[in-house]
C-alpha cells in the first residue's frame, strides 16, 4: 500500500502569469491568467476542470473565489493551507483525488500581487501571541534565528549563506523569465543592507507579483496528451510546529521526515535525483533542506554549497530557475518549484536545462520553517 500512489498521476500542463510587477492587475486575475496558460499547455480548457486546488493570502475561502471567478463547478476541491508549501501538498492531494475517482482534471493554481499593493509579504496570518510582543520581523527574523543557531552549532559562515544567493542569481541569469538577473557577488551579499542578523537583503527572497498553475490527470490519460508528462512518483508532508519558538531543534526541519517518506513512496534515494527545486525563502533554507533531505550530513550544508557546487556547472543543480531568491516570489513560492521541476523533466529549459534530467525533487516550505512538503517527479522511464 505504501506505493499505491506512485506514478498514478502526472502533471500535464504548467502555466505562469509571468508579471513580476503587475500594476493594474489583481491577485485573482494573475491566478486566472496562469490557469488558462496551464490548461492551454495541457491541451485542455476550463470546462474540463473538475478538481480545484488553491491557496491564497487574499481570499479567505480560496477555492470558492477561484471557482467562481473561473466559472467552474468542481466535483472536488481542496484549499489546504500550509503556507507556501500548500501547492506541493496539493500535488499529493490531487493525486489522491484523481486516483479515487473524485475528479478527472485537477487544476492547482495561485496568484498574488503583493509587490504592487505594498512591496511586502501579504499574509492573512493571525499574530502569534507568545512571539508578537518581541517584534520579530516576520518571516525573516524566524529564519534568521535558525541561521544563527546553525552558525553556532556547525560553524556555518556568512560567506556560505551568501554562496546560496550567488548560485541562485547565476541560475537566474540563464533564465529569461527570472526577475533579478544583475550580477551578484559574495561581497555584494555581505555588504548589503542588514535586515535581521545574520541576513542582509540578498539573503531574503524577492517580493514580486505573479501567478502559477499546473494541471494533473491520471497517468493512463497523461501519456496521450500534448506534453511529455511529469509523473508524481512520491510526495509527503510533515509539520512539527507553527511558531518558530516551538521548533524543537532549530537546525532540523520536518523535511527530515517528509523527504524520507517521499523517497520511500518513489522507491528512490537522494543520489537518484537529477535536479532539485527547494523553496529558498532565505539562504539558510537551501542549506537546511539539502541536509534534511539527505544530500549531505547535518551541519555540512554550508561547506556543501561552497565553491559553486549548486550553481550552474556545479555538481548538483539546485533551484535552476533562480529560486525565490532571484526568479520570483509572490508570497507563496511552492508551486514554482513544481513548475521548474516539470520543465526540467520535459527538457524545455533552454540554457539552464539539465541534460537528460529524468528525476526531479520539488520541495515546499511553509510558515516559519513549519510545514515541509517534498515531492518527487519523474519522466516515463522512471515509472
Amino acid at each position: 500500500m505504501a506505493n499505491s500512489l506512485r506514478g498514478k498521476a502526472a502533471v500535464v500542463g504548467v502555466g505562469l502569469a509571468n508579471r513580476p510587477e503587475a500594476p493594474g492587475r489583481n491577485a485573482i486575475e494573475l491566478l486566472a491568467e496562469a490557469s488558462v496558460n496551464a490548461l492551454d499547455d495541457a491541451g485542455l480548457t476550463l470546462s474540463d476542470v473538475d478538481g480545484l486546488f488553491t491557496g491564497s493570502a487574499f481570499h479567505y475561502m480560496p477555492t470558492l473565489s477561484a471557482a467562481e471567478y473561473l466559472g467552474i463547478r468542481p466535483s472536488y476541491s481542496d484549499g489546504s493551507m500550509v503556507g507556501g508549501s500548500s501547492f506541493v501538498m496539493h500535488l499529493l492531494n490531487a493525486a489522491m483525488a484523481l486516483e479515487a475517482g473524485l475528479c478527472n482534471v485537477a487544476l492547482i493554481c495561485y496568484g498574488s500581487n503583493q509587490r504592487t499593493i505594498g512591496g511586502r509579504l501579504v499574509s492573512m496570518s493571525e499574530p502569534q501571541p507568545y512571539e508578537a510582543p518581541y517584534r520579530p520581523r516576520y518571516p525573516v527574523s524566524a529564519y534568521a534565528l535558525a541561521a544563527s543557531r546553525h552558525m553556532y552549532e556547525y560553524g556555518t559562515t556568512r560567506e556560505q549563506l551568501a554562496e546560496v544567493a550567488v548560485a541562485a542569481r547565476k541560475w537566474a541569469q540563464l533564465n529569461p523569465e527570472a526577475f533579478a538577473r544583475d550580477p551578484l557577488t559574495i561581497e555584494d551579499v555581505l555588504n548589503a543592507r542588514p535586515i535581521s542578523d545574520p541576513f542582509t537583503k540578498y539573503d531574503c527572497c524577492l517580493v514580486t507579483d505573479g501567478g502559477a498553475a499546473v494541471v494533473m490527470v491520471r497517468s493512463d490519460r497523461a501519456k496521450d496528451m500534448k506534453q511529455k508528462p511529469a509523473y508524481l512518483l512520491g510526495a509527503a508532508g510533515a509539520h512539527w510546529h507553527r511558531q518558530i519558538s516551538m521548533m524543537p531543534d532549530m537546525t532540523v526541519t520536518a523535511a527530515s521526515e517528509s523527504g524520507p517518506r517521499a523517497f520511500e513512496m518513489a522507491g528512490l534515494k537522494p543520489s537518484d535525483m537529477d535536479v532539485l527545486e527547494l523553496y529558498d525563502a532565505f539562504t539558510i533554507n537551501t542549506i537546511l533542506f539539502l541536509e534534511d533531505l539527505g544530500f549531505c550530513k547535518k551541519g555540512e550544508g554550508g561547506a556543501f554549497v561552497s565553491g559553486g557546487r549548486i550553481a550552474p556547472g556545479g555538481e548538483l543543480p539546485v533551484n535552476t530557475n533562480g529560486g525565490g531568491l532571484s526568479c520570483v516570489h509572490p508570497g507563496m513560492y511552492g508551486l514554482y518549484t513544481v513548475i521548474e521541476a516539470v520543465r526540467q523533466l520535459r527538457g524545455t529549459c533552454g540554457e539552464r536545462q539539465i541534460e537528460g534530467a529524468k528525476t526531479a525533487l520539488a520541495h515546499g516550505n511553509g510558515g516559519t520553517l513549519s510545514s515541509q512538503v517534498t515531492s518527487i517527479l519523474g519522466t516515463e522511464e522512471t515509472l
Binding site: 510582543p133 518581541y134 534565528l145 543557531r149
Partner: protein
C-alpha cells in the same frame, strides 16, 4: 504552587491565567505532575501526552540564549532591537528579547535572567544578562 485542572475545572483558561499572573509580576509555567515535564507556552493539556495533571510553577527565571538576531530598523523607526530564543532552566524554550545591552552583544550560550517589563503596553517576560 497552584493546582489547576482546566479540563474539568471552572474559570479561566491557561492563556488568561498566565497573562493575569504576569500582570501581577509573576512568570508562571506549567508542569505535568506525572511526567515532571515543564512546557511553554501555556496549554490546556501537556502537548503530546495529553496529561491534564498540570500545575503552575513560578519559573526560576534562569535561562540560556539558544538563538539570536538583531532586527534592523532605521533610528526614526525605533532603531535596532534584539529578538532571541531562551532555553529556561526548567527545560522549555520561549521567544524573548535581551535588554540592557546592545542588541548585537547578545550571544548564543549567554546566561540570562528573566524580568517582567512592559512591551507595547502589556507585561512581557524579557531577559537581562545574568549577574547584571
Amino acid at each position: 504552587m497552584t493546582a489547576n485542572d482546566p479540563i474539568h475545572g471552572e474559570g479561566k483558561g491557561p492563556d488568561r491565567i498566565f497573562r493575569d499572573a504576569l500582570a501581577e509580576g509573576k512568570f508562571l509555567i506549567q508542569r505535568s505532575r506525572s511526567s515532571g515535564r515543564c512546557y511553554f507556552f501555556p496549554r490546556l493539556v501537556e502537548p503530546g501526552t495529553g496529561a491534564t495533571d498540570l500545575e503552575w510553577i513560578e519559573a526560576s527565571g534562569e535561562g540560556t540564549v539558544y538563538a539570536t538576531t538583531v532586527v534592523r530598523n532605521r533610528p526614526e523607526k525605533g532603531g535596532d532591537h534584539n529578538v532571541c530564543m531562551v532555553d529556561l532552566k526548567e527545560g522549555c524554550r520561549m521567544m524573548s528579547t535581551v535588554v540592557d545591552i546592545a542588541p548585537a552583544d547578545v550571544k548564543i550560550g549567554m546566561a540570562v535572567r528573566a524580568r517582567i517589563d512592559t512591551l507595547n503596553g502589556e507585561p512581557a517576560v524579557v531577559f537581562v544578562p545574568a549577574g547584571k
